[in-house]
Subunit: 233 residues, 2 copies
Amino acid sequence: MSTTNRLSWTYVRDEIHKSILAGRYGPGDRLPRDADIAEDLNCARSTVQRAMQDLSDSGLVERRRKGGTRVRAEPVTRATLDIPITRREVEQKGGRYGHQVIRRSQAQSPLSVMATFELTEPHEMLRIEALHLSDGAPYILEDRWVSLTTVPDIQNVDLTQQSANEWLVLHCPYTRCDLRFYAISADEDVADLLQTSIGTALFVIERTTWIGVAPITTVKAITRPGYQLLTQS
Amino acid sequence: MSTTNRLSWTYVRDEIHKSILAGRYGPGDRLPRDADIAEDLNCARSTVQRAMQDLSDSGLVERRRKGGTRVRAEPVTRATLDIPITRREVEQKGGRYGHQVIRRSQAQSPLSVMATFELTEPHEMLRIEALHLSDGAPYILEDRWVSLTTVPDIQNVDLTQQSANEWLVLHCPYTRCDLRFYAISADEDVADLLQTSIGTALFVIERTTWIGVAPITTVKAITRPGYQLLTQS
DNA sequence: AACGTTATTATGTACCTACTTTTTTTGTCA
DNA sequence: TGACAAAAAAAGTAGGTACATAATAACGTT
């Protein structure tokens, strides 16, 4: 016997998952305590704990101290999204990346931007409208506000060389990030820049980041017609 | 002195995070080994390991055996999405939920559906077109295919009482889920059902689930005008 | 130099023990 | 009965040890 008897936590996780799938425990049902499962499967409690942690943050199960572990009564579909730097996204799809700065201005943040950042006082901000290109064709149109209070360094960066998107992601880690997805119809300006017709349905990604409570940047990224966002499989 | 000297793994995580934020380690840089950090901060290696695991699956850091830990060279914006049952989503927003089955049919899966499921052989499937309502107004229009091979039980369910969305989520846990987001323009049928005008930009969520390699269901959920999907904050 | 083999190294995992924290249950007293 | 306090229960965390695994580095042979 060369195989050790040690159970991996992934095995334990899958066993528990299977017994839920098999209907042994239905939505809302309580599972045995970690210690009992451990004894049952003949492994350490910490191994069960590790397995349960995984099931818990994949949304299948809910755990509470003293309350024990229960199968989520109202399950959710939980998915993880990875949004790469736009340059990298284009290149990964085999395109040649390029980008253009369309407009650049500096102003106090308007009310809409203050609201997005949950600010009470206006901040001095840099506004950059830019177009990302794939093989020379429009790919993503972004309208971005950057707080000059939080990120003063961006004023000394040549944003025609490196996009604000890339510079910020590389130089400015965040502690909070809100995302918002929806659809819009292209108006005249947008249609013109994305080289499509007025009224085309476009997918929009809005992203806002903070470091602590200090605002970093908010972007509205309007994607080209036909763009799709996928969960990483 | 009542405070113990024990450091929590969240504290350790935040310390490491802070030192990256402060620029002590830039993108691509290698961090000290866990054991050294542990000695540095005067805690156990397992505590550092726990902290690192968290930083790793939040996408800030990459870890490889023998290679050590490095700050991700090309960071990604990683976010977690929770998509609840539609009934629950409507109710949580304070709406009165309702739903209608528009069409129901049974057929062999067409090529497009086979492709979505990565199938080589057609499956017998149930197709259900349904409309979710909030306060009587259209909310989400869904076009769903369910494999009768994998989920034969659904034939005995009264889908006018409980939506297929809800029944499946409650009775049919999955092991794989792919999501896809994009925008479409409303055609005549869709505009009619969602009570909007032709050409309106609409946000679409496509979801496909499997159990093992067996297909469960694929849905195209067309949301009402103005619908937004947010990351859970 | 070019290769295959072996050693080294840092993370990953499993187990155990002891203690902490949160939440529920129970019990007591007004 | 009701409110508040005490006890109990189960998950969570920290520490420590030993070993497994994977990736890299070092080495020797051709």
